[in-house]
């Protein structure tokens, strides 16, 4: 299955703002993170501070992803 990954701020600087990622069906958010970390050495250091949103809602790492999901990687916010 394919999911669309959006990244912001520090995480975007590492991964680019948007990309499609191919994952085995039934993969979790944690599996997606691990897949991204394989090719991005700076990413593991941001694991604890980055929240993951699936289709606009923050989820935990055990969340099962589905074909066509929009997955957003959200580092600590700094708006205002």
């Amino acid at each position: 299955m394919k999911v669309r990954v959006l990244a912001f701020a520090r995480v975007r600087e590492l991964l680019g703002s948007a990309r499609e990622v191919e994952l085995p069906a039934g993969s979790t958010a944690a599996a997606l993170w691990d897949e991204l970390a394989k090719t991005c050495t700076g990413l593991p250091a941001l694991a604890k501070s980055t929240r993951i949103a699936r289709n606009g809602h923050v989820v935990n790492r055990a969340e099962i992803l589905h074909e066509g999901d929009e997955i957003a990687l959200l580092p600590p916010a700094g708006g205002g």
């Binding site: 959006l6 912001f8 701020a9 520090r10 975007r12 604890k48 501070s49 929240r51 949103a53 606009g56 957003a72 959200l74 580092p75 600590p76 916010a77 700094g78 708006g79 205002g80």
Partner: protein, 143 residues
Amino acid sequence: MFAVVSEPIDVAAIAREVRTDACGAVVTFAGVVRERSDDDRPVTGLSYEAHENMAAEEFERIAAEARERFGSCAISVVHRIGDLAVGDVSVAVAVAAPHRSAAFAACEYAIHELKRRAPIWKKEHYTRGDSEWKTNPDRANSP
């Protein structure tokens, strides 16, 4: 109005939009780019980015909470993204309520929660050419 925009923010227009004849108070808050960082380095500007849909939805939730707590009549929240210079308005909150105490309280609540919760990021650029992502100290996802 709950929006993330790329154009300059017109605070007066947002204030006009929330006002109704039932409201005796209109409070506006404008967040403005400062010339110095918290640690007193000279700043040339800020770059903002946002998850635009999630941010607008968060503004709407925050406004609903504020109305529930303070009973205000109308709230608008607009945040700008892109490259901003010193003096530019980055965020505006406007609240119209029958009386001023509710309007002040709701406005304070909205900007406080926005800074804590909204998926928006800012990078501070310094005169020496370096830059830094800034996080809000009381953000909801503190590690």
